[in-house]
Every structure is written in C-alpha cells, then in structure tokens.
Symmetry: none
Subunit: 198 residues, 4 copies
C-alpha cells in the first residue's frame, strides 16, 4: 500500500491557524534568525500541530515566503512618485531601497527570503509573480512616463533598465561587497540615466 497522500480540501482550511503560522514565522525570523528557524518552533509558537503546517506548505521555505506575501499584500496598486524629474524620483526611490537594506529589522527577514528564493526555483517563480512582478511594473510605469517626457530613450529596454539600476544595490547588499550608501545609489542612477539618454 503506497499510501497515496490524498490532498487536503482548501475550503476547510482554518484561517485562524494560517494567520497564526505566518505571524509566528515572521516573529521567529526576527528573533532567532533564519538559519535557526524550525518548523517545530513555528508550530509551537503558533499553537498549531506540525501536521497543519505540512498539510498546507511544501517546505519551510514556502512558509517563510508566504509570511512575506502576506506582509506586502497592500503593495499591489502602488505607484511610484512622479514629480516630472526622473533623476530626482529615481534617486529618492533608490535611496529608500538602500535605507531598507540597512534597517536591521528588515535585514534578517529579507535575507532569509532571498536565500530561500535562490535555493528553490518554484519559490522564485512565485516570487516573480506575486512580489517582484507588481513592484517592477510600478517602476517601469515611472520609466515609461520618463520616456513620454523625453528624459530617456523611447526605445529603451525597461526590464534591462531596472536591472541596471537595482542589481548593483542588490549585489552589494547580498554579498556585502561594499558600503551601501545614498551616494552610491545616486552614482548608479547617474550612470544608468546616462546610458538611457535619448
């Protein structure tokens, strides 16, 4: 008897347990760090049986991921500031990103999330669809506005533009390969805008 694992019925899922698990996960990542996070501890903190976690998530990584999804659910309709000055606007956004990376409260969980995504292609796909996608779309919308204003080339590849802007920040932060300062953000913006000029 190969014990066919019947799949659970989502309509009967306990929302209370789901919330408790995601909240416990977020708390524990902040408290003990991602490396020492255990399903056992999540279940205990959430007042939940371990099976309830394994029933609804494939892996610890999936729980971690979901705990972030929930955090940033309101981001969807988000739009970036548009003062008409693409350079100023980008620098503001990039400096905010730098500040977020520097904030020790965010540092640990975001790092956990990124390690999880880097390890698991499935989560990476979900990440792009649910988290990165909408945010990137908002950013590209701002770049399109700049295209219309003639501030960057009309035929610029906006996906590439985004990567030229953010990847250097991301890499410095993830690998700690250099100081992550507002000035650095500014320098990146200056260079990339130069590359994108009409």
């Amino acid at each position: 008897m190969p014990s066919v694992p019947r799949k659970p019925d989502p309509t009967r899922r306990s929302e209370r347990s789901r919330q408790a698990i995601l909240e416990a996960t977020r708390e524990l990542i902040s408290e003990v760090g991602y490396a020492k996070l255990s399903v056992e501890a999540i279940a205990a903190r959430a007042g939940v049986g371990k099976q309830t976690i394994y029933r609804w998530w494939r892996s610890k990584g999936a729980v971690v991921f979901d705990s972030f999804l929930t955090l940033s659910e309101g981001v969807d309709g988000m739009a970036l500031p548009d003062t008409g000055d693409i350079e100023a606007d980008l620098k503001a956004v990039m400096r905010a990103t730098v500040a977020e990376f520097a904030d020790p409260t965010f540092e640990a969980p975001i790092r956990a999330l990124n390690l999880e995504i880097a390890s698991d292609p499935d989560l990476a796909a979900q990440y792009r669809e649910k988290l990165a996608g909408p945010v990137d779309e908002a950013k590209k919308e701002r770049l399109r506005s700049a295209q219309r204003a003639g501030q960057i080339a009309a035929d610029a590849d906006l996906d590439l533009a985004l990567e030229l802007l953010y990847a250097p920040l991301y890499q410095r932060w993830l690998l700690r390969s250099g100081p992550l300062t507002p000035e650095y953000a500014d320098a990146v913006v200056d260079h990339v805008l130069r590359a994108l000029r009409p």
Copy 2:
C-alpha cells in the same frame, strides 16, 4: 579543568585528509545539492573522522568555501584578453560568464558558494579577499587599459563600472528572474559602455 580547546598544530595536519575532504565536498554538492550536504556525508565519503573536519573548519560553510578556493588557485596571476577593443573584450568575457552560469556542472556548486557567502559575513570577507578580489583586479586592469586608450572616461569609478556590468548577470542567475543569454550580456555591455564614455 574546563577543557580549554587547545588549538591544533597546523604543521601536523594531514594533507591527504584535507584534500579528500575538499574533494568529497565538491562531489557531494554536485550530486545531492547544497541543501542536503552534511558534514557526516563528507566525512564518510572522504574516509575521515568528523572531528578532523571540525578541527580545521569553523562550519560546513567554511568547508564549502575552501573547496572552491582550491579549485581556483591558479587564477591569481590571471589577466583578461586585451585586443584594444574594450567592447569586444568585455562582451567576450561577459558571454563566458553567462556560459559558466548556464553550465549545469558549475551551477550547483557556485550557487552553494553564493548562499554560503550571503549567510556568513566572515566568509563574505574571505571571498572578497581570496576569490573576488584578484579577479576584479584583473578586470579593472583591463578597464584601466581602456581608460588609457580613451575608450572610457578617465575619471570613471571602476568598482562601480564592474558592478554595473556584472550585477545584472548575477541577479538574473541567482534569482532566475529572466533568461541569461549572450545577447543579454551584449546589451548590458552596450549600455554600461555608453554610461562610461568620456
């Protein structure tokens, strides 16, 4: 007497064991992946006592890291090709990087190494010093040659230049956020050179 762990005498270290451990580590990362790599398995595969691993390395990550150091020992004196055409040279190098990332043989170990570095600031420092540093220096040397040839601005920040070039590739690869093609490498080079023009 509180067992003061006298530190081992490196002169008596068994080179044979060291090699066996590093080799077993490389093999196992390729075979079972980084997530399922265990000290136990390394010791068994290497025909070595676990203590011998713990005696000489702080953590599993340190072993993984060292297993790469050994791999790339000959890289030190390396210089990049210099045909006089910075654009062609950069595209060649970047396309090689893309190919390396795409090679399934390298994929797993490099990913393991990067996860380890992202998790452990100490290893990150070692990484910069021992691995990234020399390679980056060679790359910067090529850029300096281009500066002298007037192909890129004399006052360009070469560290930044390197990051603008490599970070987009790195990010796409690590997060699987898009296709990693030679054309993509070319596009990045084109943009960055534009930003760096005198």
Copy 3:
C-alpha cells in the same frame, strides 16, 4: 456552556456502520496484527467516520472485544459432548482447544483479544460475563454430569477443576513456553482427573 456531550441515541444507530466497523477490525487484526491496528485504519477500511467509532466505543480495545462478541454469538446455548466417558470427552475438547490455538487464522485475533483483556479490567469483566462465562458453564455442566456418574468427586470445586485443565494450555500458548500438542492436552487431562477422583 461546557459542552455536555449528550449521549447518543442507540435506536438511531446505523447497523450497517456497526457491522462494517467490526468486520474491518477483524480483517485488520488478521492482516497487520494487533500491535499495528489503528482506529484510523478501521475507519478507513469500514468507510466510516472516526467519530462514529468514538461515539459507540470507549476505546480501541472495546472495538476489538466487540468484534469477537459478534463472532461467537451462536455459542450461547452450546453444550459439550457427553458420551458418558469424561476422560474421552475432556480429551476431545482439550485437543480441539489446542487445535484452535494452533490455527494461524485464530492465533492473531485471539491473542489481540487476550492482550486487550489483560490490560483493561473493564473489558476483563465483560469478557467473563459475555464470553467466558457461558462457555465455562457448559464445561462445568459436563463435569457435573461426571460427578453424577461417580467419575469425579462429588464435592470437587468445578471452577478450580476448569482452571487446572485449561490454564496450562493457556499459559503455554500465550507465553509460547512449550509445544502445544494433543499429547500435552491428554497428559493434563490424565493428571487433573486423577486429582479429582472420588
């Protein structure tokens, strides 16, 4: 309001479910053995909700016990053979008992039942009343007949007599402390009859 568990109404009990549960129990004891018997498995096999089991039985042991009661319902009016020769009759009955103990079909369930009874005084009481009692009464009736025929002492303690006869068989079987052969049964009968002679 502390959920007073109103007790179920037996008149509305589903006979179909009851039968399915008892049958599934018997099957599973034979198939996987008593130690690995689980309420979950019984419910699944019987196509029944777990609650239906817990509604009508106190414990797994109670189900096991009941599954035997049902098996041996027709035994009540049973009478032992009476050829007039107590020795021959007893030997026949005892040999039959030996055969039953040796039959692998009966072995597992009977053992399960005995372990359950040995663990739970309540079940033991039920066992005496519902199963052992009637059977013992039939056996004692045969002994009384022998008393009237002057084959065993008129003042013999028949309960003790039964125990002298059956306990040695039972012990050998339960603890596997020796071979359980027809000859052994005969020897026991011979000795006990000698002890009971007028």
Copy 4:
C-alpha cells in the same frame, strides 16, 4: 544507496547510559504505567539521546524486558526452601507468588513485562532463557528432592507439574478471572500433589 545500517560496536558502549536507561524505564513504568511509557520519556529521564536507545534495543519492549533482567540478576543461584515436607514448601512458595501478584508495586511492571512477552516471540524466548528458566530449574530441583523422598511419583513429568501448579495462578492474575487468595494457592497445591502421588 540502501543505507546499510552498520551495527554498533558493543565494546564502546557506555555503561553509564545503559544503566540510566534501564533505571529510567523502571521508574516510568511504576509512575505512568506501561501503556503510557514512551521512548521519548525514557530518553529524557535518563538524560540520553533517543538514538542511544535505538542503537542498542530493537523496540520499547526490549528495553522494558532488559530493565527486568537487571532487576533479577541475583536470582540465578537461588534455591527453594526444603523442609522435607513438599506440601508445606509448595504452599509457602505459591502463597508468596500470590502475594507478589497482589502487591501493587509489582503488579504494573510484571503485567507490562507479560504483555510484552505475549506480543513478541523473540522476547518470549529470551524470557524463558534468562528469567523463567533458572527459576523453573530451582523449582524442579525441589520437586526432584520430593521424588527422592517418595512424596511424588518417580516418573512424574516435572515440567507439567510446574505448569499445573503455576498456570492457574497466572491465569487468574492476568485475566482477573477470580480472587487470588492464599487459600486458592493451597487448593491448587492439594490437587496437584494428589495427581502426582506415587
């Protein structure tokens, strides 16, 4: 890789752990009863890793069994009292057995042991060899003495004699099928001696 479970080296076994485990087992059986005894609890109480238990014992039952072996190690050379009066001596011994069965301190562990033996043929074999065997030999020695004294038949089957004596007590105790009194023990002895008379 079928993970060949290499067998442990008994010469390196920790005697301290072994003792702690057996002692914890005895304590827990007395405290919480056999049904609620868990390997987890034994390990915790003994201050031992669970693996250390699973390394040296096949099952929980085997641990329980061993914890009894250790208890009764001094019994080996034991000899029964021999006043020359077999009836008096047997009654004394049987009454002692009755008392032991009645003692609530012994009740739980002995019952646990018997359930374990009844469930597991391997343990049953060990039981006969290590525990029951020596004790039975002492009892048979006393019976042989009675044979020499002409109190019981010279050709009596002493194994059978032992079973006729003890099985009724054992059965009454295990199944709680009747009161276990000194008088009952006496009655059994009287009958069995009558059956064994020369």
